[in-house]
């Protein structure tokens, strides 16, 4: 049985720990601290927690102002509300002047199953990735989430981090290196490389086991930084295989699949993308149901792998 841990919980706890050591850190939330888990910050260091009300555009520009006077603001809400609602505040007020604002999007992808399309983010990676100067990070598990919190504090500039509401399997160890802008090998193989992010890394590992029994060797790579993309390593892992699969809990347009395809556009390699097919989400009883409905299961990856193996 695989051990699962909650990423939001890990984020909320780690944020307090690092804020205790770094007085420049301030935290802003738009009436979702009980879900984003910045409630721990409010409980432990209330003077550096700012409730900004349900007003995300103001929240992002206030964060810009705080960064301009030397603070390191962490801005929090659900993914859709920290990226979509205040898009222009991020674009012009934060990314253009490269301000040191850390934007955290909680309940990313389809993970807020019950609330449906309005609260699910299927295009947040695409829109954040398109903004110059912006970095985009997707931690794979609770352990990596803590490392991301530490890393973004050290990193000077705007960052968008997307965090799942669903508890995810632990796939990394405390001493697994994490660096913004680097991708990491989870399991090696030589027939197919799967570039995955977020919860799709685990789906890829499950697919890998099934494919191994059929004699297909699969490499699984965790792309926890989509921007800046580790292009060199992407190219290295793409050489000598029969094909590439990208897997993300996000639209197939403009996200991880888009980034990998762009990076390999001058390479002779077949690429198949697993993701949400240019459609919005919807309500469901469980996150798992949605993953099945939108073809984000290991079977969907296996299907793509079989297609790729047919060639060559």
């Amino acid at each position: 049985m695989v051990r699962k841990e909650n990423l939001k919980e890990a984020y909320g706890r780690e944020l307090v720990e690092i804020a205790k050591k770094n007085p420049r850190i301030v935290v802003l939330d738009a009436d979702l601290c009980g879900s984003t888990m910045t409630c721990y910050m409010e409980q432990e260091i209330p003077q550096r927690f700012f409730e900004m009300g349900i007003a995300e555009q103001n929240m992002l520009s206030v964060a810009a102002g705080l960064a301009l006077v030397g603070k390191i603001p962490f801005v929090n809400s659900f993914s859709v509300f920290t990226t979509g609602q205040p898009f222009n505040q991020i674009r012009q007020g934060i990314a253009l002047p490269k301000l040191n604002v850390k934007i955290f999007g909680s309940s990313c992808g389809l993970s807020d199953a019950g609330d449906g399309a309005t609260h699910q983010s299927v295009e947040d990676i695409a829109i954040m990735r398109a903004i110059p100067n912006m970095s985009v990070i997707i931690p794979v598990d609770a352990i990596e989430t803590k490392k991301v919190v530490r890393a973004v504090v050290e990193y000077l500039g705007p960052v968008y981090v997307r965090i799942s509401r669903t508890s995810l399997p632990i796939l990394t160890e405390e001493d697994t290196p994490f660096q913004i802008g680097r991708i990491s090998l989870i399991k090696d193989g030589f027939d197919i490389t799967i570039f995955a992010c977020g919860l799709m890394v685990y789906q890829a590992l499950r697919a890998r086991e099934v494919l191994a029994n059929k004699g297909i060797s699969v490499r699984v790579v965790n792309v926890s930084t989509i921007k800046p993309l580790d292009r060199e390593t992407v190219k290295i892992y793409s050489q000598g295989v029969k094909g590439i699969i990208t897997a993300e809990e996000h639209s197939i347009i403009g996200g991880l699949g888009g980034a990998i395809t762009e990076a390999l556009s001058n390479q002779m390699v077949r690429i198949e993308r697993v993701g949400i097919k240019d459609t919005f989400g919807q309500s469901a009883q469980t996150h798992e149901e949605l993953l099945e409905h939108y073809s984000l299961m290991p079977e969907n990856i296996i299907e793509k792998a079989k297609e790729l193996i047919k060639y060559k």
Binding site: Q57, N58, V62, G65, V69, P73, Q89, Q92, L96
Partner: protein, 298 residues
Amino acid sequence: MIKMISKSGFGHERVCFMEVEHLKKSRDIKWLKKMSKIIRADILEMIGVGKKGHLGGSMSSADLVTALYFYKLSHNPKYPNDPHRDRFIFSKGHSVLTQYAALAEWDYFSKSELKETKTLGSILQGHPEIRTPGIEANTGSLGQGLSMGVGMALGGKLDKLNYKVYVIVGDGELAEGQIWEAANAANFYKLDNLVVIVDNNQLQATGQIKKRFDLGDIRAKFLSFGWKVFEINGHNMQEIVDTLDSVDEVKNSPSVLIAHTVKGKGVSFAENNYRFHNIALTEEQFRQAKEDIANIEA
């Protein structure tokens, strides 16, 4: 070096170090009026002939910006990152020519840069950017600057620094919903270190605000958001500096100065005429504008 001490709004003494040759501040009204004449002349030079430029709003805010940079703001180009300095955000960023003129006068950059304004590769962009020395925030997408000011004011409170944050917004800009999100936040956090000045020229780019998109009673709106409201003639230098000083006495709430201004002020044919919001001047208009500015009584 001489040590300058001025009274801050917090009942503490504010200390700043200033070299004598850089001392370009005064409460002398005649001198301030002369300064605003120079600012207007520089704005006109930046706009020039045949190139589009934001004449109307730059001229309507010229006296307000002059009063800030040459009287009220605690700032020094020799120490541009001094954490104690006052901050000024020009939220109606399209009027940035006024700010460029003031910053050049203060030697934040060479005055010769002004003629490069809005040319490829220039440090003086069409809207304010922090890469320009002396600019404190990127603005231009209207409605965002006040929120940034809220952030700076919150930071000042957190660090127990006595600086003040001044934000100029346009009256047309008050149609942006984010302004009122920020107004609410400033009141909730009792930001008495935040001062907003409304350049109330009553015109938006396409005509009279009252006819195009009436904003109602601005004064009542700010009052209902818990702000302390002052109303002034935005071209009366004495009134501007007196009110900027009165604001220092306000405690526990943010302040707004509704400054009644004239769009295009100082340029006869452009006054109260929305068509000169962003316009390319003809040679004849340029000559006339130059003459009008030269004839302003100072």
